[in-house]
């Protein structure tokens, strides 16, 4: 009897240890996505950001959350594609920062104006190998659900997003066409300058209420 009990104990301890190790080692991609998304939704709902003068504060907080789950260096690298090898480390950093700002300003305004208390429904997560995953979600709306698919990769045990597909249209691929066209004729600095100009424009717009 005693042997049996200790055997049971060992199994229990092992499985406990196993679970804990698993949880620490790798948060599931869907859970890794859900946490910051929930935070963004909470920020969008928070009544303390209602006034026009609070918009910049709300934007900064949301962008900080987004930067944790989105890897803009990876997004930039994949968006620029083959031309990325022509970018110096300095240009790469500048490009990633600017592109992140640009996307943030543009979509923050859109989300803020369009948000009507929707929640996100998490549909599925599919692992592709050890370090890639696709998480499918949708935003239910009376006028039709909006399907959003996140492409994630694991880096140093952390899952981060490198592309988003809305109705099957990849953000990365959509910008790749546009950036390639510009890089066919112009150099990386010129592209960065264009993007900066556009980001500044969106920053001005995003501070305004609709």
């Amino acid at each position: 009897m005693r042997i049996r009990i200790s055997f049971l104990l060992v199994i229990l301890i092992m499985s406990e240890a196993g679970n804990t190790a698993w949880a620490v080692a790798a948060m599931e991609p869907m859970a890794a996505l859900k946490e910051p998304v929930d935070q963004v939704i909470a920020l969008l709902k928070d009544p303390q950001y209602k006034g026009t003068d609070k918009l910049t504060l709300q934007q900064e907080k949301i962008m900080a959350v987004v930067a944790r789950i989105f890897d803009f260096t990876e997004v930039s690298k994949r968006t620029v594609g083959r031309n990325w090898k022509d970018f110096s480390p300095q240009q790469r950093k500048e490009f990633a920062d600017t592109f992140g700002d640009f996307l943030g300003f543009t979509y923050y305004k859109k989300v803020r104006d369009a948000y009507q208390g929707e929640t996100v429904v998490y549909l599925s997560q599919e692992l592709e190998g050890d370090d890639k995953a696709v998480v499918k979600t949708k935003i239910p709306r009376p006028a039709g659900d909006i399907p959003l698919e996140y492409r994630m990769f694991k880096q140093k045990e952390t899952w981060r997003v490198y592309d988003v597909l809305i109705e099957g249209v990849s953000l990365v691929k959509n910008y790749r066409t546009q950036f390639n066209e510009i890089l066919n004729k112009e150099n990386p600095d010129q592209l960065i300058a264009k993007l900066k100009e556009k980001a500044a424009l969106q920053r001005n717009n995003s501070g305004k209420a609709q």
């Binding site: 998304v37 909006i146 099957g168 959509n174 790749r176």
Partner: protein, 264 residues
């Protein structure tokens, strides 16, 4: 407008809108990110290895490019449609939205979607998808009766009866036919040679084509288009703002969207 393009415009907008909700939300903050410098440095060191993902991407999901020999015409039409939207369609829809509550407009959209069931059903069959065709048939029966001529959408309550937005352009795509070339029609919007042919073919399957009066058909088409647009004002604006070249952004999104539809 038969299946393809309209649907596309609608979805696309939804898309951009959507982009919004999250992705979007997401954008910005790369700037404040503490380790983006490190990552960039790493990327620099592993330059060769760095580009592996491109090939991997190419194999898994080849980038579909579309021939655009009519770019000059297409850009002009894109400009025309853009102005049509901002000067006429959008202001009209804003008034329309003021008069009709969203629930009513969704009902109207349901009605139009339901009347296009023959197009979807036939194309499910053309693609050899018997069960999808059966689901379309069941949807049509249920929504036309319980759903009061299709204004209601009770079929949506049944996960086994999803809408199959198939059209002839997609059927041709499943046979291996490519887009041929990209074309932007005035008023009608972005399309391709294949999808335009498909839309013409689908026109023969759509009940609207069998009305006695051409004016009535055209009027109903316009009504459907306006009603659809009224449900997604603001999406096109975001798409345009988010693009460096809105023309290219729409063209690429069209091709990606249709590719996904064909694959489904």
């Amino acid at each position: 407008m038969p299946g393809g393009s309209t649907d596309f415009v609608r979805r696309m907008l939804a898309v951009l809108l959507a982009g919004c909700l999250l992705l979007a939300v997401c954008g910005a903050a790369a700037a404040g990110e503490p380790d983006s410098l490190n990552q960039t440095a790493t990327a620099g060191e592993e330059e060769e290895e760095d580009l592996d993902y491109l090939e991997e991407d190419e194999v898994k999901e080849p980038a579909v490019q579309v021939a655009d020999p009519l770019a000059f015409w297409n850009r002009a039409m894109f400009y025309f449609n853009d102005k049509l939207y901002f000067w006429a369609l959008k202001p009209f829809c804003q008034g329309y939205n003021y008069v009709l509550p969203e629930a009513v407009r969704i009902g109207i959209r349901n009605f139009f979607v339901n009347t296009a069931a023959p197009v979807r059903l036939t194309n499910c069959l053309l693609q050899g998808r018997i069960f999808a065709a059966e689901a379309e048939w069941s949807r049509f029966l249920l929504n036309s009766t319980v759903g009061m001529l299709g204004f209601g959408n009770p079929a949506d309550q049944y996960p086994d009866l999803p809408l199959h937005p198939e059209d002839l352009g997609q059927s041709l795509g499943t046979y291996g036919l490519g887009h041929g070339l990209y074309i932007v029609w005035p008023v009608y919007g972005p399309s391709s040679l294949r999808d335009s042919l498909g839309d013409v073919g689908d026109g023969f399957l759509h009940p609207r084509g069998y009305l006695d009066s051409l004016m009535l058909s055209a009027g109903l088409w316009t009504f459907e288009k306006v009603n659809d647009t009224s449900l997604r004002i603001g999406d096109y604006e975001t798409l345009k703002e988010a693009a460096l070249d809105p023309y290219q952004a729409v063209r690429d999104a069209y091709v990606q969207f249709r590719m996904k539809r064909v694959a489904e």
